[in-house]
């Protein structure tokens, strides 16, 4: 087996792991398990970035990998676990759509991304094609999670899973400038503090993080 084939297979394997964790997020019923699965996804993403850095010979991607591992894989999940404990929010995750239908929809979305991406990337290398298809699947699964969950924390995890997908796409695109990777990591950081403020404010007002409480207000004061 040539080096190119090994490089391809490993990248494929790691990308598929990120995708698997995306599915994992969809069927977890406990808040702590959701956060742990997200952490695993971020670590898989770090591995993907490091592998791309190695095979593309692009050392700046190691920085992306380090940020993904330390910040998204360790710090953010720890902060979220702390937040969940501190707020004492219920352990079960409330879903707007059952687990079964959600998984079916997820499979459909992955099929959709493959059907969409593979035909249009014929000129790109096989490596890029696969990572873009996987990245788009992860993005769509994150979106699905945001739609099917009612709780603010799980929605945020869905959003961060979506960002993991974006990052997977960015590291897979050969030679993409660093600006974007740093900006993504940075925006997650800012977003996180932002979310923190929000949680506390919502907590102050409603004593709950269930968005259904917010929805009683429809924006019209007739």
């Amino acid at each position: 087996m040539t080096m190119g084939a090994i490089a391809y297979d490993t990248a494929h394997l790691i990308g598929a792991t990120v995708l698997m964790m995306g599915f994992g997020l969809l069927y977890q019923r406990r808040m702590t398990a959701v956060i742990r699965t997200y952490s695993l996804q971020a670590m898989a993403l770090a591995a993907a970035a490091a592998w791309q850095a190695y095979i593309q010979d692009a050392p700046h991607l190691y920085a992306t990998a380090a940020i993904a591992l330390l910040f998204k894989g360790i710090a953010v999940p720890a902060a979220l676990q702390w937040l969940v404990r501190k707020l004492g929010i219920h352990r079960t995750v409330e879903t707007a759509l059952g687990i079964g239908p959600t998984m079916m929809a997820g499979v459909g979305l992955v099929a959709l991304s493959i059907v969409l991406v593979l035909p249009v990337t014929e000129n790109a290398t096989a490596l890029t094609r696969e990572s873009i298809a996987l990245a788009m699947s992860v993005v769509l699964l994150g979106l699905l999670m945001m739609i099917t969950r009612r709780n603010a924390v799980t929605q945020v995890v869905g959003f961060m899973a979506l960002e993991n997908g974006l990052l997977l796409g960015a590291v897979g695109a050969k030679g993409m400038p660093l600006v974007v990777e740093i900006s993504i990591a940075f925006s997650v950081l800012v977003a996180m503090t932002l979310f923190g403020i929000f949680f506390f404010r919502i907590r102050e007002r409603f004593d709950s993080l269930d968005l259904a409480y917010l929805e009683t207000y429809r924006g019209e004061r007739q």
């Binding site: 990337t121 990245a135 993005v139 974006l166 030679g175 993504i184 929000f198 924006g219 019209e220």
Partner: protein, 495 residues
């Protein structure tokens, strides 16, 4: 000395540097009055630097550039930013008398205002699609913080909704950006140049068309969310209604324009490619849908700021429609409408802010007879609303007329639904205006127990409204010749 001369020869670092330095500076100023004036001075300096672009056009760099298209939006943004900072100083003076905001919140507000201006200007000047994305993301973050400033239940819901919807939108836009890079990379090679507008436009015809098409769909959904196109507009009315009024004015007048600008740049790339999907039909259908949804929603509004927020959705729809039609005349109309809508809508929000402060409420049913109780404010609102509804002789009439007539000449069937939507919206606005401006005046409890603002505060509150409305009037009566030639040149660029 040489470096000093070099620094003055290029306005671009100043345009971005002033708000960049200003934001932390204003966060440090302890007294809010000084903060408000600092904000005005910084915005005036930014405007002066932006006007410098007319004299010296900087060379295109790898990250920033100025061309015929963005120069006008940079100057417009700096101008509206400056006049809003004036209005904001008057607004904040009144607001702090009602003690709705603490000094610390006001410091934060002013710092965020400058940070917002920085992100807007950076997005407009960006030569790199990655920098553009970062700037639009930054704009989302700063405005979310400003929308939630009052910390009421409504403000928190509005900010949350805005944040979630626009973050997802911006996420999808990034995916689109990655796809465009992938389309460019085989031709341009790795690295920065594969993301720079100025270089990409020259070689766009050899990019892979399918990849650009797929990327454009993601970009359309992503930046379209920020433009407030239906059905992705759900965040817009809430964010406009619950934040401080100066922020509603800059959201409508600037942020929506910048998001549309981002879309148009990618549309230019597609047109330059020539083989990718035609963006016209997509823009036309989203635009028409926005006009319709907003026009009918206008009838059921009970809140004065939400009413005008929906009117912004309608006008963004109209611009998107015009750019979707394409061609020199429709593009000309779209560009003109962008400027006119910015000026008039922010003027309306300025008067609405003062009205809501005087009435102590935003409920339309509780505000009546303004031309009798507050003649100047009432009549300014009448002029502003009639202007935005598209009555002559204001500039909005001119641009709407151009959109409709150019569409009639080419695709009469497309002009009909647009005209219908505009008429429905016109009816709604006139209906609401009648209640607001005429009839038996309601008491204005917001003014009771509050010391009347000084003559100076009143003047700087009204000045921006007068300035914006007179500019719109001048543009409606006689658009200056150089401006026309220049609009025509840009319209040609847009394809």
């Amino acid at each position: 000395m040489i470096s000093l001369a070099a620094a003055f020869s290029d306005p671009l670092p100043w345009i971005l540097g002033i708000p960049l330095a200003g934001s932390p500076l204003l966060a440090l100023i302890p007294r809010w009055r000084w903060g408000a004036w600092g904000n005005v001075i910084l915005s005036a300096l930014t405007l002066a630097a932006a006007c410098g672009l007319f004299v010296i056009r900087p060379e295109a760099g790898p990250l920033l550039f100025i061309d015929d298209f963005n120069i006008y939006l940079v100057v417009l943004t700096a101008f509206v930013g400056f006049s809003t900072s004036l209005f904001s100083a008057a607004y904040i003076t009144r607001e702090s008398k009602g003690s709705r905001l603490t000094p610390l919140q006001l410091r934060f507000y002013h710092a965020m205002y400058q940070a917002f201006m920085l992100t807007m200007l950076l997005a407009l000047c960006a030569n790199n699609i990655g920098v553009l994305w970062v700037a639009v993301e930054g704009a989302t973050l700063t405005t979310v913080l400003m929308v939630s400033l009052y910390r009421t239940r409504e403000a928190i819901e509005a900010a949350w909704k805005y944040f979630i919807l626009c973050s997802v939108g911006i996420g999808l836009a990034l995916f689109g950006t990655i796809l465009i890079y992938l389309a460019a990379q085989p031709v341009m090679g790795d690295g920065m140049s594969a993301m720079a507008w100025s270089v990409m436009m020259k070689r766009a015809s050899s990019f892979q068309p399918e990849l650009i098409s797929l990327g454009f769909v993601f970009l359309l959904v992503g930046y379209g969310t920020k433009t407030g196109l239906a059905p992705l507009h759900a965040w817009l009315p809430d964010a406009h209604a619950e934040g401080p009024t100066p922020i509603s004015a800059v959201l409508s007048g600037l942020l929506l324009n910048v998001a549309l600008y981002a879309l148009l740049r990618f549309k230019m790339l597609i047109s330059a490619n020539g083989h990718a999907l035609a963006p016209g039909p997509l823009l036309i259908s989203l635009g028409t849908l926005s006009i319709f949804v907003a026009a009918f929603m206008l009838y059921r509004r009970g809140d004065i700021k939400r009413l005008f927020a929906y009117s912004s959705v309608e006008h963004m729809g109209l611009m998107t429609f015009a750019f979707g039609m394409g061609g020199p005349l429709a593009n000309f109309a779209g560009l003109l409408h962008m400027a006119m809508h910015s000026l008039v809508k922010s003027a309306i929000f300025f008067s609405v802010g003062m009205i809501a402060q005087a009435a102590g409420t935003k409920r339309l049913a509780d505000i009546r007879g303004l031309t009798a109780s507050r003649p100047l404010l009432g009549w300014l609102l009448v002029v502003g609303v009639l202007a935005i509804a598209g009555l002559p002789p204001m500039g909005v009439f001119m641009s709407e007329f151009l959109v409709i007539s150019s569409t009639f000449a080419r695709q009469p069937w497309l002009a009909l639904p647009v005209m219908l939507g505009l008429l429905v919206a016109f009816g709604a606005l006139v209906l609401r205006l009648q209640g607001l401006a005429f009839g038996e005046p309601t008491p204005l409890p917001g003014l009771e127990g509050v010391r009347a603002p000084s003559r100076f505060t009143r003047t700087i509150g009204y000045l921006p409204i007068f300035a914006h409305l007179s500019l719109a009037l001048v543009a409606g009566i006689m658009l200056p010749g150089p401006l026309v030639t220049w609009f025509q040149a840009v319209a040609k660029m847009l394809g």
